[in-house]
């Protein structure tokens, strides 16, 4: 009985494990502190949040294999679906919280070197012959799948939904990729540290972070005309919270993401908040951009995954080194 | 402690290393196991020590069956060919080992151990080396330390596997004397392995000649030398000239300046002086066969100086014939012995 064990834990420190993906480290570092303070004030109970980060797919697999996450905050709904399939959480998890269970969003932007020497302004510039594009491998990186789908979506739009053209476009784009890192972070390092490539396709928040951490004077962010609305979802892992008796605090934790405080922290870490007020407050930071969703363009993650990324899918077909 | 070995056999796979051996060694005896390489000497010694199992037969110590006794209950001292000194222990600790591992109620006190080890060190004249490690002493010294270590536990039987095999000729000779002296003093039943007939003849009270896993002959040095039971023993125990399947020892060849009786002419190929004897290599002129003669001082003086290239007359008087003993296997072909 969860309430029972919860009361037993009263006064003791509760521990919560948040299994997340790579680019959220800074976000959750700040958010966890804020939440712990909030929770202690509310209930008098100390809560310690343990964080695990890694490639989104790998993290999801760890949870499936027994990593007892109380909450998962991953890059794609698909990865959480996989956990649901393993029976660790409810099938309809995505309906449990507002906005498809995604308290913040992001999008895919371009990071280029200062002065934008190759003059890259929009997606079309990426398939020019002399442009070298850095993106991680969509087979292993959640971020890379967003990149891929953003490019695909753009091409569909440009060509009035012509799949063939889209395919051609993406194929050309990947021809320009000299290194396929296995994760988003690796790709950023390749672009920034190894100085390989002219443009990095990255989450907006990653691009900002790279700018901050690695030198504003070295890079510029380029916002393309159209991009994808990336919705990193969050949810409670039912089996774990039941076992740990942490359902209440885990729920509160995710709810807190939707609170003003939570939304502020997301915005500060360059995730686009859902809250209108916070959006307004950070208007300068997040320029307006035409965004399409996965559901619109690809009929949801399961579809996208099957069509594009599964073994023998479109990516495998078009990828020619 | 007398030792009886009864119908003992031991195979290694198909190979009969020890083949139905019967042997009795009286208490206090100094016995040599003598035989060519591979004849089973080491195997037999190790069986007595309990280091090797028997396939069949019994081993008795003073009429008590020891066949299944554990090694450490046999009270044997064993000196390995390459000494097997404990490399990581000082000479003192090597000798003290057997005392230190005794069960607590039998173990002497530290002082007693120390006294005993120093007595032994004095006995082997190596007191000043107590603190050295085996790697820091010479081969002959190692040999003596190994012996002291074996003696420390006051064994009833002392077993030595080619105790001088790894030593220089000169050092070997000195240690032979020393080992005999020790036996004179302690009177422990001692069995040592050797493939050197001179060593066996010089040191042992009893010689056990082995070949191909069998005991071929047992007796005093004089017995086995003078009354060999077969060709093998005869050939193995000393130099020998072969004459159409019969044998004669070089010192039994007589040389003369002039023909006499059944003598034949021979040409001197080489003359060596080995201490008090003169060894002469000759070729029979009638059959072009090489043979050797050995003269002692008196005989050499009699015949007078002999030089390479001279002609003399030789006589084979006491040719030995083993042909009647067909059951004894002949010595293997010359080249396979080498």
């Amino acid at each position: 009985d969860p309430t029972n064990s919860q009361s037993e834990n009263q006064g003791k420190e509760i521990e919560l494990l948040n299994v997340s993906y790579d680019p959220t480290r800074e976000l959750y570092e700040e958010f966890n502190q804020s939440f712990a303070e909030y929770w202690e004030k509310e209930t008098g109970q100390k809560v310690k949040i343990n964080q695990s980060h890694g490639g989104s797919g790998k993290q999801s697999r760890s949870v499936i294999d027994g990593l007892e996450a109380d909450v998962v905050t991953l890059a794609l709904a698909y990865d959480i679906d996989a956990i649901a399939e393993a029976g660790k959480l409810a099938d309809k998890w995505q309906e449990r919280l507002e906005h498809n269970s995604s308290p913040y969003t992001s999008t895919i932007v371009f990071l280029v070197r200062t002065g934008n020497p190759k003059n890259i302004i929009d997606w079309d510039d990426l398939i020019k012959e002399d442009v070298s594009v850095i993106t991680p491998n969509p087979k292993t990186s959640g971020g890379a799948r967003w990149n891929y789908l953003a490019a695909w979506g753009y091409a569909l739009k440009q060509n009035n939904g012509n799949e063939e053209k889209a395919r051609e476009f993406v194929q050309k784009l990947f021809k320009n990729v000299p290194v396929l890192d296995s994760g988003a972070r690796g790709a950023t390092t390749t672009f920034v540290e190894r100085e390989i490539g002219d443009v990095l396709l990255a989450w907006e928040n990653e691009a900002f972070l790279a700018l901050n951490e690695l030198g504003e004077d070295k890079f510029e962010i380029v916002i393309p005309s159209v991009s994808i609305l990336a919705e990193p979802p969050v949810t409670i892992v039912d089996s774990s919270v039941e076992k740990h008796g942490t359902e209440e605090v885990a729920k509160a934790y995710l709810d807190y993401l939707y609170s003003d405080a939570g939304q502020e922290i997301a915005a500060k870490n360059y995730y686009r908040p859902r809250s209108e007020e916070v959006v307004e407050k950070y208007e300068d930071q997040f320029p307006k951009i035409e965004l399409f969703t996965i559901d619109e363009q690809f009929g949801g993650w399961q579809n996208a995954q099957q069509t594009h990324f599964a073994d023998g899918g479109i990516f495998d077909q078009i990828y020619q080194p | 402690m007398g030792i009886t070995i009864e119908k003992v056999s031991k195979n290694f796979g198909e190979y009969k290393a020890i083949n139905n051996v019967y042997l009795e060694i009286p208490s206090g005896d100094f016995t040599a196991l003598l035989g060519p390489s591979g004849s089973g000497k080491t195997t037999l010694l190790r069986m007595i020590a309990g280091l090797e199992n028997l396939d069949s037969g019994r081993i008795l110590f003073n009429d008590t069956d020891y066949t299944n006794k554990a090694v450490k209950e046999r009270r044997v001292g064993f000196v390995f060919q390459h000494y097997a000194l404990f490399k990581h222990m000082s000479v003192f600790d090597n000798i003290a080992f057997g005392l230190k591992v005794k069960p607590r109620h039998l173990r002497p006190s530290k002082e007693e151990i120390k006294e005993k080890v120093y007595d032994l060190l004095k006995f082997i004249q190596l007191e000043h080396l107590a603190e050295r490690y085996p790697s820091q002493v010479s081969g002959g010294q190692k040999q003596r330390i190994a012996l002291a270590r074996a003696l420390a536990v006051e064994p009833d039987v002392l077993l030595l596997d080619e105790p001088f095999g790894a030593l220089d000729a000169k050092v070997r000779q000195e240690l032979r004397h020393w080992l005999r002296e020790i036996h004179e003093k302690l009177k422990i039943t001692t069995i040592f392995v050797t493939h050197d007939q001179e060593e066996a003849l010089e040191m042992a009270d009893t010689i056990v000649v082995m070949n191909e896993g069998k005991v071929v002959q047992t007796g005093t040095p004089e017995e086995v030398y003078r009354r060999p039971v077969n060709e093998f023993v005869y050939r193995f125990l000393g130099r020998v000239n072969e004459v159409n399947g019969r044998y004669i020892r070089p010192h039994e060849v007589s040389l003369k300046r002039a023909p006499l009786g059944e003598s034949f002419p021979a040409k001197v190929v080489h003359v060596h002086f080995i201490g008090s004897t003169v060894r002469i290599q000759l070729t029979r002129l009638d059959e072009d066969i090489l043979f050797e003669a050995e003269l002692n001082e008196e005989k050499y003086r009699e015949i007078g100086p002999i030089a390479k290239g001279e002609f003399v007359y030789a006589q084979f008087t006491k040719l030995v014939d083993f042909d009647f003993q067909q059951k004894v296997k002949p010595l293997p072909q010359k080249e396979s012995v080498l």
Binding site: G57, N137, G186, T190, E193, R194, D316 | G50
Partner: protein, 279 residues
């Protein structure tokens, strides 16, 4: 199996005990877990299995892994022998340090090695920039993978060959020289055949290690499917797509192939030494 040929129990004790412990521990830690890998891989039909392992990407990664591992082990066999040679035969200042440094790849975590090597051999790295100037790309190419594999495999060869060279009796070389051989002949005809089994051992250890290496390679390889994707990474990739069976299948094939290769090399080595050493 594992039954003593010769009963020695009176002399050296505890054969049964120590052998029993060995077998139990070996089974628990190594054999049973490995067996489950094969059970997992056996859960799919032969056709599925075949299509998994004959996939273009899988085949490409097998080819890449085996060829870079082989090349790296081969280069290590040559330079490792050379290093063993100078350590065993020559005196020079700093020899102790050189001797110690050889073991560094054993001790340095592979991930650290991978990061450090990538930093060095990237086009803008300390060493990579010189190659870049020559138009040679090192990091993110098979060449880079080879460098990482050379790094991790070197000590295996040196440590296999060095003791043999050290124990190699000078007399053989001297005998050959009194028979009129020159130094090249002495090396080729006397020394090389003698140390060859040891080189082979070192080679096979370095090769086996290289086949399985992950930590140091992922950083420097660039991970391009069909081009610079090694088998262990492919296994990880499959896992990240929740494809356990596929991962187990590839892993099983990998294991079997490395076993066979290792076994053949060991057998060859054993044959050589058996031929000369039997008493």
């Amino acid at each position: 199996m594992f039954k003593k040929k010769k009963r020695h129990h009176q002399v050296l004790p505890a054969f049964g005990l120590s052998m029993g412990y060995t077998l139990v521990y070996l089974s628990l830690i190594v054999l049973i877990p490995i067996a489950f890998l094969f059970i997992k891989a056996a859960a799919i039909s032969w056709d599925d299995f075949w299509s998994i392992i004959t996939d273009r990407r899988v085949l490409a990664s097998f080819q890449l892994t085996f060829s870079t591992s082989f090349m790296a082990a081969f280069i290590n066999a040559i330079f490792g022998t050379l290093i063993a040679w100078i350590l065993a035969k020559y005196q020079f200042t700093g020899k102790k340090i050189v001797d110690a440094i050889v073991d560094l790849p054993f001790a340095l975590p592979t991930a650290v090695a991978g990061i450090a090597l990538t930093t060095l051999y990237a086009p803008n790295g300390w060493i990579g920039r010189f190659f870049e100037a020559l138009g040679i790309k090192v990091a993110f190419t098979p060449l880079g993978i080879m460098i990482a594999l050379i790094f991790i495999g070197l000590p295996f060869v040196v440590r296999s060959v060095q003791p043999v060279l050290q124990e190699l009796d000078q007399q053989y070389e001297e005998a050959a020289s009194t028979l009129g051989a020159n130094s090249l002949q002495i090396f080729m005809k006397i020394i090389l055949p003698t140390i060859f089994p040891a080189i082979l051992t070192g080679f096979s250890l370095a090769f086996a290690r290289a086949l399985g290496e992950y930590g140091s390679v992922v950083f420097i390889s660039g991970n391009m499917p069909l081009k610079t994707e090694i088998v262990p990474l492919l296994i990880v990739t499959k896992l990240e797509q929740f494809d356990y069976v596929g991962a187990a299948a590839v892993a099983a094939v990998m294991l079997v192939i490395s076993f066979i290769l290792l076994f053949l090399i060991n057998f060859w080595q054993w044959r050589i030494s058996k031929k000369y050493e039997t008493v």
